[in-house]
Every structure is written in structure tokens, then in C-alpha cells.
Subunit: 180 residues, 2 copies
Amino acid sequence: MKVNLPTDETEKAALKQARDEFVSQWGALGSQWGISRTMAQIHALLMISEQPMTTDELMDELQISRGNAHGNVKELVAWGLVRQVVVRGERKEFFEAEKDVWEIARTVARERKRREIEPALGVLRECVEKSSTWKSAEAQAFHQQVRQLEEFVSFASKVADQVSGMKHGFALQLAAKLLG
Amino acid sequence: MKVNLPTDETEKAALKQARDEFVSQWGALGSQWGISRTMAQIHALLMISEQPMTTDELMDELQISRGNAHGNVKELVAWGLVRQVVVRGERKEFFEAEKDVWEIARTVARERKRREIEPALGVLRECVEKSSTWKSAEAQAFHQQVRQLEEFVSFASKVADQVSGMKHGFALQLAAKLLG
DNA sequence: CTGAATTTTCAGAATAAACTGAAAAACATG
DNA sequence: CATGTTTTTCAGTTTATTCTGAAAATTCAG
């Protein structure tokens, strides 16, 4: 069996510390974003874990309750950022995160479109519709403004579709178009 | 003086209702997004207001306290989405929103980069740095994953710069590049 | 079918975020 | 400088969100 030289031990400890730091910081960023701290931490943990993990491991690692771990991991599954996998000979459910950053980006683009852009479009279209036949100067100003907003959000929606439709090496395509 | 025909009155009432609906719905969207409901409502109100407004008008229109109106309008100014303007012969402060959607988009891109992308980059770079010389298989897997994340976020940062640097008609440029 | 293992739910507790209202500070006017 | 006006601050309250922990439901093996 391999001998653990002092440097091995040092590296192992430093790795653990770096992983914890990453999970913790990613969680803090999560709340800056619109998602809960715990959900971001679970995502971070699964992204840097080589093996799929169980709910109990998440509870243990992050010091959180079963209900919390359960709810958040299921929400990550609903987002499409985490999937449930079967480990042979095990009854428990195991979870693993999508690790490919381009896939993650596509998923986030798709979900944010659905959750943020589409509801806004609904509101704006209703306002544009209602105000389209009004005659007064004030009403026309209102119409103009909501129409411009609607046009922009509609454009953003198309961009999101375009991005989430791009295949694996999409960053190259996108980079070429935007930066080239 | 102009006579108010029944249709004028009807339109006036419908306009008021549409404006209120827009403000209320935009507020709800705001919380779906990462910003407070009130801040989004103030922004909506100022975007569809033809004249600049005072804190007292905001308080009255949205039925909120002075402290709340004050704090949120100042935060919008800090974002760069609203500016303070001087109205001749008035002592009170007046506020108006940027109405040009492309300007709004640039501002949001710039601010979100600063608030969401840059802190993430900081965390990731630290992790990449620390783990770059480690030897074990686990450590290298960690390094690889955070490096990929760092590369992507760094790319996103460049995209945000590009977008926020585009001049007025940028949507056309962007549309041509992305959709063309 | 039985019982142990596991997942799911959810009422109440804890925490975090937003808001109020009034007092203090800053400002303008004569 | 005295006074009335407007802005700013902030301690305390309310509201919204997240989390806990235990009970109920489900699943599976024998």
C-alpha cells in the first residue's frame, strides 16, 4: 500500500479546505443570485464530487436537515442541473450534477427564460394590446413605452432560445460572433 | 376648453387601470428577479411617467412609507436606472427613469456583471490558483472542474463587457450576429 | 403480508429581508 | 441666524423565506 508522505497529507487537508471554501462561497453567490444558499451549496458540492451522493451525505456534509436537503436537491432536479442515478446494489437514491459548463449554461438560459422572460412578456403584451387603440397623448406615450419594452424582451427571448439551442461547442460559435 | 366625451372618460379610466396593472405586475416580476418588489414598482412607475416625480408622489401612488420610497429610489439611482433632475422653481428632488430600452439593457448588463459575475470570478480564480500544483487524482479533478467554470464565467464577463460597450443601436448589431 | 429502509410532507421555529414612522440632520430662504 | 422645508437615518416591527424534525407515506426484500 502507498505510503502517505507528509506532502500527501498536507495536500489532502488543503484540498478539503479548498472544496469547503468553494461550496461555502458558491452558496453565498447563490443568494446574490435569485436562488437559496443551500440549493447553491448542494449544486457546488455535487459539481465537485466525483461520485454521486445520497441525501444523507448532503445532510452530513452541509450540516442541514433531511427536509431541507430533500427539497433542495429535488428542486435542482426540476431545474435540470442535477439528475438521480442508480448505483448498483444500493437502495438509496444517488444524485449527480451535470458537470459540463456549456450544458449548465444552456439549462440556466432555458430556465431563466421560462421563469423571468416569459412572464414579463405576458404582462407587456397585455399592456401593448390594451393600449393600442387609445387616442390621448398620455395613452399613446404609455403605449410607446410598453411597446419598446415588449420588443426588447421579445428579442431577449429569441436570444435565450438561440443560446439554449446551441450544441456542445457553442461557446466557440458565440464567441466568434460576438467577439470576432 | 375641450369637452370630455364619454369615450374620453372611459379611456382615461382604462389608462389609469392599465398603468396600475403594469406597475403591480412589474413589481411582482421584480421579486422573481433578484430585486425588491417596491424597487421594481418605482422603476415601472417612473418608466411610464411623462414627468419626473418626487418622493411624496411615489409614496402616495404606491402607498409606501417615506423611508421605503427614499431608500429604493436612491438604490435605483445607484444602479444608474434613475436620475435626479432639477425642476425650475421647485425645492423638492425630482426623479426620472432612463426610458431607452437599450440604455436600460446596457446598465443592467454592467451592474449584473459587477454584482454577480465578478465575485464569482474571484472565488473561482482563487480555487484554480490554489489547486494548480496539486498532484493527487482527486485534487486534479477538482482543479479541472473549477478551471472549466472559471473559463466559462470569464467568457460571460467578456460578453457582458461587449454588450455594455455597444452603442445605441446595438440590438441590431447583436441581432445580426446572433440570429443572422 | 410484514417489517425495515427510505423518501416525502408539512406545521411550526428560526432566519433574513423589507418596511414604517418618527426623529435627526441637512438645506434653503429671508 | 431663525425658521420652515426636505432629505436622511435607523430602531423596532412586520412580512416573507427558509429550515427543522418528526410523522406519514412509500418502497422493497424476504
